[in-house]
Point group: C2
Chain length 69, copies 2
Amino acid sequence: MDWNAVVAANVKRLRIERGLTQEQLAHEAEIDLTYLGGIERGRRNPSVEVLGRIAAALGCHASSLLHDG
Amino acid sequence: MDWNAVVAANVKRLRIERGLTQEQLAHEAEIDLTYLGGIERGRRNPSVEVLGRIAAALGCHASSLLHDG
DNA sequence: ATGTGACTTATAGTCCGTC
DNA sequence: AGACGGACTATAAGTCACA
């Protein structure tokens, strides 16, 4: 199971559902725009803390970002 | 929200429910024994990939490790 | 608005030990 | 069986210029 790909898909899906750009979400989550882009492409292996910040910015629970489809 | 503390509590609870030692779980998850100990004490900030390996070793979904109580 | 490579610094993660 | 520390090495965190 490639968990980074799961996180990537969930972050991208939820971000678009909320009508946010990568730039806006990155700003909310207080992470760099290019770093968020890397996460959405599954090229990064973020820590639990970063996952939590992104979840908070998306207004969802951190565990939601690990749900596979 | 301190997600590392949430992970710590969940890993410890599930490991004990399954009657495993830290040593056994660390071996199953292919992570270092002392590192797993640090995670269970909330002193570490593991990556999503490590979270997935621990979840697999515990026989649960990775998102379970982020459920708060 | 996003993808990418290269980069530096911080810390994840391992291995040795002691208590 | 588990907490904790020191000294490492690998990689995450965070940033940039440019496509």
